[in-house]
């Protein structure tokens, strides 16, 4: 479904991605783990067309995304819950969700998806007319995921959904991610919380300073010596 072939991305003259190869098949949950500054967010930004690779290809359902605008990429079916949530602070929860469906014109479909988001996150329904900026961190994360779902994507990109959340909220968010995946959504999950990410994912890639150093089945990665030492904090 999604394939990155030898992708090199730069911020100015600084090379952030040094030849990433990665693929996601329909229905899978794939996780990209790695420490701060490894290039995880850069990878998602490149897929979404917010950054352009200087070399290499991003393919989505065999279509090359390198020259496609971000709006068009959203329309093709890739939506993202970005790092730091980036909800619209002075818009209500309802308006934030509506913005997620900005590219869509099927009002009945939007309505069903809205109901679906509210069934996944009943908290958002309670806060429906509250301004996004006044929500708690966990609620903002739910809103960011809900907003991404409102685009009715076929590939959902999640950038560090656990960042800055209390442990209880983290497990709540992850169980919802599992729920979304169980409904058939394809997910590319970027996480620093490798333990949680590997429990919900089918496969994983380990990113280190812009390069993929390890990849494989999530269960295998969980027991891999290097991963355990470097990312799971085990001896």
């Amino acid at each position: 479904m999604l394939e990155l072939i030898d992708v090199h991305t730069y911020y100015g003259n600084i090379q952030a991605l040094k030849g990433i190869n990665l693929s996601v098949s329909p229905g899978e949950v794939v996780t990209l783990i790695g420490s701060n500054g490894a290039g995880k967010t850069t990878t998602l930004r490149t897929i979404q067309g917010l950054l352009r690779p200087r070399q290499g290809k991003v393919l989505f359902e065999d279509r090359e995304l390198n020259v496609v605008s971000t709006e068009e990429i959203v329309r093709l079916g890739i939506a993202q819950s970005p790092e730091g949530r980036m909800i619209f602070p002075r818009m209500t929860v309802l308006e934030n969700l509506e913005m997620g469906a900005f590219q869509r014109r099927d009002s009945t479909g939007i309505k069903t998806d809205m109901e679906h988001v509210f069934s996944l996150f009943p908290r958002l329904k309670e806060r429906i007319s509250q301004k996004g900026g006044t929500l708690s961190g966990g609620e903002q994360q739910m809103l960011a995921i809900g907003r991404a779902l409102m685009a009715r994507p076929r590939l959902l990109l999640l950038d560090e959904p656990s960042m800055g959340l209390a442990p209880m909220l983290v497990s709540q968010i992850f169980s919802i991610i599992q729920e979304i995946s169980a409904e058939g959504m394809t997910i590319l999950l970027v996480e620093q919380n490798a333990r949680m990410a590997l429990t919900v994912a089918n496969r994983g890639y380990v990113l280190q300073t812009g390069e993929i150093v390890l990849s494989g089945d999530a269960k295998e990665l969980q027991v891999n010596e290097t991963v355990r030492k470097a990312y799971l904090g085990e001896e």
Binding site: Q48, L50, S69, T70, E71, V74, R75, A79, Q80, P82, G84, R85, M86, I87, F88, P89, R90, M91, E95, E98, M99, G100, F102, Q103, K131, G133, T134, L135, S136, G137, Q140, R147, A151, G164
Partner: protein
Amino acid sequence: MKPWQKNVLYIVVIYFILLLGPIAGLDIPRIIQDIVQSPSLLFTQILVGLINGAIIAIIALGYTLVYGIIELINFAHGDLYMLGGFAALTVMGMFGMEDGAPLGTAILPMLVALLVSAGMCAGLNVVTERYAYRPLRNAPRLAPLISAIGVSFIFQNLGLFWGGLRSFIPIMGNTAAAPKSFPDLLPRTDIFQALGIETKIDFTVKDLTVLVVAVGLMVGLNLFVQRTPAGKAMRAVAQNREAAKIVGINVDQIIVLTFLIGGALAGAAGLLVGLYNNTIVFTMGFTAGLRAFTAAVLGGIGNITGAMLGGVLIGLLSALSDQYLSSRWTDAWVFGVLVLILVFRPSGLLGENLQEKV
């Protein structure tokens, strides 16, 4: 600010008001006497203030919209409004309008002038954005600001040149730089008198028309921004440009739309001011722009309701200062109030400092 700093500031402010106030016309017993003697004058001045304030507010919206989206103080905006006035005057000249032309024949030229000046200013603003600001989008903040000042000079010179086209626009003043008389077309029928109410307040059909159009434009803009998808997209871009891109908004398109709307409002304000004050001059954009910009900052730059509130406040303040303080010191009073408000509310009256939670 530390408490003692605040106290020092209070003392300085009070000292200046006591010292400079009387020179600048602050003579409280006389003011009270004036108001008691002729309360209707107070109401008349309030009306004048409201109308001028509404026009300032429309210009202020152009500053605040653009600032909200790309954080640029578009210094050329006041001059754009001036060019709108010239476009409207040109239309009037082409229709051969003169002072006191019957309303029946004046309505069409006024509507055409509204379309032409709003359309021209919208177009000019979009072109300016495309060629003067967009290439500098990722440059340091100061670069587009200097660019805007340059555009402001270009517009002023265009206005000066336009004023010299005498054969083209017969009703203009003598020299290029001279103020041009704008035909007085809106009837000065007193509304209260026509309704049989005995008052000394001057409130004419002309006042009402300008007020209604100005308020209508503001209400329309508010509805547009709050209700329509394009308006919501504008707000989204203003609140978080990256997130707006992520949900699939074409940010460049929204920026163009913002300049288009801001320009159209400036053009409409140019016509309104011509119809209301019956004189336009190529330098009027500078002063009006400064006041409108002040209004936008006063209300909280980037905040639409704030710009409207700021505009009306500045209009009221100027009108009252003209009457009761001293018209020569009006700008000093207006900007003094601005400084005072910003000291205590640095983000303006309605500017929010909503921080995103982590």
